[in-house]
Symmetry: C2
Subunit: 327 residues, 2 copies
Amino acid sequence: MKLADLRTPALVADLAALEHNLAAMAKALPGARLRPHVKATKCTALARRQAALGHRGFCCATLREMEGMAAAGLGEDLLLANEVADARRLGALEARVTVAVDSPETIDAAVAGGVPEVLIDVNVGLPRCGCAPEQAGRLADLARRRGLSVRGVMGYEGHAVGIPEREKRRQACEASMARLAAAHAQVGGDVISAGGTGTYDLNELATEIQAGSYSLMDSAYAKLGLPFQPACSVWSTVISVSPSFAVADCGLKALGMDHGNPSIEGARVWFCSDEHVTFEPERALRVGERIRVWPAHVDPTVAYHERLHLVEGEDVVDSWPIDLRGW
Amino acid sequence: MKLADLRTPALVADLAALEHNLAAMAKALPGARLRPHVKATKCTALARRQAALGHRGFCCATLREMEGMAAAGLGEDLLLANEVADARRLGALEARVTVAVDSPETIDAAVAGGVPEVLIDVNVGLPRCGCAPEQAGRLADLARRRGLSVRGVMGYEGHAVGIPEREKRRQACEASMARLAAAHAQVGGDVISAGGTGTYDLNELATEIQAGSYSLMDSAYAKLGLPFQPACSVWSTVISVSPSFAVADCGLKALGMDHGNPSIEGARVWFCSDEHVTFEPERALRVGERIRVWPAHVDPTVAYHERLHLVEGEDVVDSWPIDLRGW
């Protein structure tokens, strides 16, 4: 199939850029040094590529992602890097399953759900999930008393991964990891799971990095000067032109908007509506012409689409289902 | 099923509020005075309720919505209120199909696609699709020369529908409709299709109002003091609590974020991540507790979900597929 034959809007990935990103990360963090986060892509076909490059353990953000990865035969070592109040769906999986816990209630849920292994999730500065570092040892003791195997700790420095200046990013990461190290000293275990695309080569504590966005990248991370290439755009059709602006068929239901407007090469984006993007192009466009719209945030963009089309030049060489959507 | 048994995050609608909204609109704009826009809800089951109340014509924003409505037997009078560069999928439908056109190219597409009827789409002030009012007559002549039936004009005052003060909203609507009336004088035809939830009772020109959001409403429209009740929220589980904040399992992939953060009663929302909302509650919450998260913009929220669950008190009384997603 040709790119021109795709129905629009269509989520497309440049295969060469994607493969470059996967290879660059596999070289920097070989094998189990990377635990790819599937939330960014929600696609078992892409995860299979990562596994083929040596990364056999994955992390997920939702129960549906865990179920889908297990069903796809990618369950060698699955971490739900998130808290759940009901873990029964995890206990039913045919896979090695570890879940993050940060409270007595989530430990109860792991026990009740039949999940044998946990990581103690520690708040390292991002106000989201995770216990205070000084509570980690007590939670690990409780988990062990309840019969769980505590593999170690987890702590995501999400407030640091997007800091533009590399040295400041490193310092914020280091401060976070000091908190995680203190927790780990109380908890023990082999695993210190942390990091993301923005700190993949700055985090010196983590035994495994939880990066996901590096594979497709997005315009927010692209500003950091990382050695990964923007690979993911929404292929769109120009449906209306006027003397001062043009409109394409890619809107709020095809784009994650929390990081702001998408970008279009050679154009200034004005705004998006449900099924439209209005923009001011530098050159005259004609109705029916196709353009690439680059989402500001890939993760919630991918979650709107049924398929990711892989392209080489003008050819669509493969089409992968986004099969881990929903909950 | 009980509300407590729903997997979270889950899109829920309060059935009493939904029915109130549908009835209030049917009273204000009976029968063909309203052409409900299905883009807001993407749900044929909900559209069937609107049809049962007397609104037999609908408008859509995408080809998939048109196909789904036709397949559901709701094709008595379907308007694609949007431009397409390729209309062949429309021509194949077993339904009465009208498509908006705003250029010679989109007229060509209607002809080539076998779509017999069109509306001339006019830019009435929102820089999106639509021809300049002074071009409308020329386009109508062209369409008729090409063998198309021109039913009239369309012009969406999307820049006016959200103006907070009613009188200013009315004035902006009136100015837009003056442009549409000028175009209609050139074009002719029985149909003047315009309006939205914010101007449903202010637009005095339109023969039919294209409102959609009124059925579920959202927090942006709720500020206008309209007689419609917020009906749609995302039912979520608290998964982590700390002394100063709590976290629930409803994030960027469960919420349209272009209008900003969602709201939670009795709490201040701090921020959303992919699968989390962090917020500061007024009272202590416990892990496992369920809360309602109110999206700022319903349309792109609905598009993330597979089903809309209808609730009465603690009971889930029905569950409707969001069957018009995608393109």
